[in-house]
C-alpha cells in the first residue's frame, strides 16, 4: 500500500504536474499525449528503476548484515561500490558512452567481489571476517586510484563525482530491461534462503548441525547479493545509506526473523528510494540533487530517532 501510494505520488509531481486521475487514464491507455509522453518516456522508467534499486539494495543489505553478523555491513561493504566506481571512472575518462559506462561499472563490481572472495577463501571455507577486511582494503586501494584518475583528468572530474553520488536522471527503458530482471529474480532467490540465514545468524556451527550446508548458502548469498548490487550500481550509481538503514529500520519495526524481514525490507526500501528520488527531482528544480544526498539526509535522522526510541523502551 505504502509502495503504491509512493509510486503514484512520484508519478504525479514534477516540472509538469500530472493529476492522479490522468495517471490512471494513461495506464489504461487514455490521457492526453503530452502527459502520456512525460509519464511513459521519462518518469515511469525512472520510478521503476528507483523502486527496484531500493528493493535490491535493501534486500542485499539485510542478507549481508545477517551473513557477516555485523550491523555496519551494507551491500557495498565488500568493495562492490568502489569496484563499480573504478569501472565507471575508467569509462568516463576514456570517453565511453552511457552503455559503456554501465557495462564497465557492472563488470568491475563483479571482478572486485571475486578478488575479495578469492583472497578470503581458505580451503573450502570462506572466512567472513577476512572478507570484511579484504573488502575494506580493496575499497581503499580503488578509491586512491579513482582520486588519482580525477587528479589527472580535471575535465571529467565533475562527471565522476556526480556519478558516484548516484541518481536516476539518465534512466530510460533500456537500463530497466537488464537491471530489473536481475534484481527481481535475485531478491526472490535470496528470499528462498531466509530461514537458513535465521539459523546462521545464531551461529554457523549450529546451522551445520541442523542440516544446513552453510558454505553453500554463504556462496549463494554472496553471488546473488553481489549481482543485485552490481546491477543497481551500474544503472543508478552509488546510492548510499539505503542498504544500511532500511534493513535496520525494518528490523526495529518487525524483528529479526528474515522470513518476514526480507519482504518488508524490500518494500520499504523501494518506497523510500522512490520518494527520495522524487524529492531529488523536485526539491531544487530545475537542478537535480543527487539522490544519495537525500537518502542520507533523511535516513540518518530518522534512524537516530528510532534508535533513541528503542533505547528508551529498553530502559523501561
Amino acid at each position: 500500500m505504502v509502495l503504491i501510494a509512493s509510486l503514484m505520488f512520484s508519478a504525479s509531481v514534477g516540472a509538469v504536474k500530472i493529476p492522479l486521475k490522468s495517471i490512471v487514464d494513461i495506464i489504461f491507455g487514455g490521457g492526453n499525449s503530452t502527459d502520456r509522453m512525460i509519464l511513459l518516456k521519462l518518469r515511469l522508467p525512472r520510478i521503476i528503476e528507483a523502486a527496484f534499486t531500493g528493493m535490491g539494495l535493501s534486500v542485499a543489505g539485510t542478507f549481508f548484515q545477517g551473513l557477516l553478523k555485523n550491523p555496519m555491513a551494507d551491500p557495498y561493504v565488500l568493495g562492490i561500490s568502489s569496484g563499480a566506481a573504478f569501472g565507471a571512472s575508467i569509462a568516463i575518462v576514456l570517453g565511453f558512452g552511457l552503455f559503456g559506462l554501465q557495462f564497465f561499472a557492472f563488470a568491475f563490481a563483479l571482478v572486485t567481489i571475486y578478488v575479495v572472495y578469492i583472497l578470503s577463501k581458505k580451503g573450502p571455507y570462506v572466512k567472513m571476517q577476512t572478507m570484511l577486511l579484504a573488502g575494506i582494503a580493496i575499497s581503499a586501494f580503488m578509491s586512491s586510484i579513482i582520486s588519482l584518475m580525477m587528479l589527472l583528468n580535471h575535465n571529467e572530474m565533475s562527471q565522476i563525482v556526480f556519478w558516484t553520488m548516484g541518481g536516476f536522471s539518465l534512466i530510460s527503458w533500456s537500463q530497466i530491461f537488464y537491471t530489473v530482471p536481475i534484481i527481481f529474480i535475485g531478491c526472490i532467490a535470496l528470499y528462498v534462503f531466509s530461514r537458513d540465514l535465521n539459523v546462521m545468524m545464531t551461529g554457523e556451527e549450529i546451522a551445520e548441525h541442523l542440516g544446513i550446508d552453510t558454505e553453500r548458502v554463504k556462496k549463494i548469498i554472496l553471488i546473488v547479493g553481489s549481482l543485485i548490487t552490481a546491477s543497481s550500481v551500474s544503472a543508478g550509481g552509488i546510492i548510499g545509506f539505503v542498504g544500511l538503514i532500511v534493513p535496520h529500520i525494518s528490523r526495529l519495526i518487525i524483528g529479526s526473523d528474515n522470513r518476514a524481514l526480507v519482504p518488508f525490507s524490500g518494500i520499504l526500501g523501494a518506497s523510500f528510494l522512490v520518494l527520495a528520488d522524487t524529492l531529488a527531482r523536485i526539491a531544487m528544480a530545475p537542478v537535480e540533487i543527487p539522490v544519495g544526498i537525500i537518502t542520507a539526509a533523511f535516513g540518518g535522522p530518522f534512524f537516530l530517532y528510532l534508535l533513541i526510541k528503542n533505547k528508551n523502551r529498553e530502559v523501561k
Partner: protein, 266 residues
C-alpha cells in the same frame, strides 16, 4: 548393540594432528563425560562424532551406520549439538530459536505444524524454558541461554546429544540443574556426550568417562576406574588426592600443587 562406535579416529587441523587414534564403543543410553587438559582434543572429538569435522583416518559409526555416509538432514535428525555459549546480537524470541530445531524435519517452505509446536513445547518444558518463550535470547542470563540451546537440540529429537562445556561459566546452581536434567534425559533414550571441565562434577554425574591426553584416550570407564591419582597426574600434570564422595559414592578429587614446589615456596 553399540550406539556409538569410534574406530581408530585420526584428525588434524592442517599439519597439527589433534586426534591420534581414538577408539571407544558405547552401548546403552548413558551420560558420557569427556575430560582432559586444554588443547587435548575434547571439542575436536565431539565435532568428529557429530560429523561436522571429517577425520582423515578412521570412522565413527552411529547405530552401525558410518556418519560420513549420512546426508546432513539425516545427521541432524540423529544428532543434536550444543556449542559453547555464543552471544547473538540479533533479536530472536526463545520459541523461534527452539523451533529452528525442527528444520531437519521440514521442507524449505513448509510451515511448522501443530506437531512441531508440541515437540518444541515438550523440549522447552523439559529444560524449564517454556516460561521464557516470548523473551528475546539476548536478554537472558548465560544459564537460561544455555538451556534454550539445549531445548533447541532436543527439538531435533536426537538419539545422541553432544554438549561442549555446557556448564563451564555458570554458577553452581545452574551447573547442578543442567547436569541433573541431562542425566534424566538418558532415561528418555538419549545418549549424551558432554565435554566437562570440572572433574568432580563429571565424577558425580557421568556413567562413563573418557579421559583424553594429547589426542589419545588414556583411560575410559566408570568414574571409579578412570579417576585415579596416576591418571589425573598424567592428563593434567597435577597431583591429586582421591576420596570417596559420601553423597554420590563416586570419587572425589582434591587437587594440589606438585609436592615439593609447596615447600620451596615456604
Amino acid at each position: 548393540m553399540s550406539i556409538v562406535k569410534v574406530d581408530d579416529l585420526h584428525f588434524s587441523y592442517g599439519k597439527i594432528e589433534v586426534l591420534r587414534g581414538i577408539n571407544f564403543d558405547i552401548d546403552g543410553f548413558k551420560m558420557v563425560g569427556i575430560i582432559g587438559a586444554n588443547g587435548c582434543g575434547k571439542t575436536t572429538l565431539l565435532k568428529n562424532i557429530s560429523g561436522y569435522l571429517k577425520p582423515y583416518r578412521g570412522n565413527v559409526y552411529i547405530a552401525g551406520k558410518n556418519v560420513s555416509s549420512m546426508n546432513s538432514r539425516e545427521k541432524a535428525r540423529l544428532i543434536g549439538y550444543v556449542p559453547q555459549d555464543m552471544y547473538s546480537d540479533f533479536e530472536f524470541s526463545c520459541i523461534d530459536i527452539v523451533m529452528m530445531g525442527r528444520i531437519p524435519y521440514l521442507r524449505r517452505f513448509q510451515k511448522e505444524t501443530e506437531n512441531d509446536l508440541r515437540i518444541v513445547r515438550e523440549s522447552m518444558m523439559l529444560t524449564d524454558t517454556w516460561n521464557l518463550r516470548d523473551r528475546y535470547l539476548n536478554e537472558l542470563s548465560g544459564g537460561q541461554r544455555q538451556r534454550v540451546y539445549i531445548a533447541r537440540a532436543l527439538a531435533q529429537q536426537p538419539k545422541i546429544l553432544l554438549l561442549d562445556e555446557p556448564v563451564s561459566h555458570l554458577d553452581v546452581k545452574y551447573q547442578i540443574d543442567i547436569l541433573s536434567m541431562l542425566k534424566q534425559l538418558t532415561a528418555k533414550n538419549i545418549l549424551i556426550f558432554s565435554v566437562l571441565h570440572d572433574i568432580n562434577l563429571s565424577s558425580q554425574f557421568c556413567d562413563v568417562i573418557l579421559l583424553l591426553d594429547s589426542g589419545k584416550i588414556i583411560s575410559k570407564g566408570t568414574p571409579d576406574e578412570v579417576l585415579t591419582v596416576e591418571n589425573i597426574k598424567r592428563a593434567f600434570s597435577i597431583d591429586a588426592d582421591v576420596f570417596k564422595n559420601p553423597v554420590s559414592d563416586t570419587p572425589y578429587i582434591i587437587l594440589s600443587k606438585k609436592r615439593g614446589e609447596d615447600q620451596r615456596v615456604v
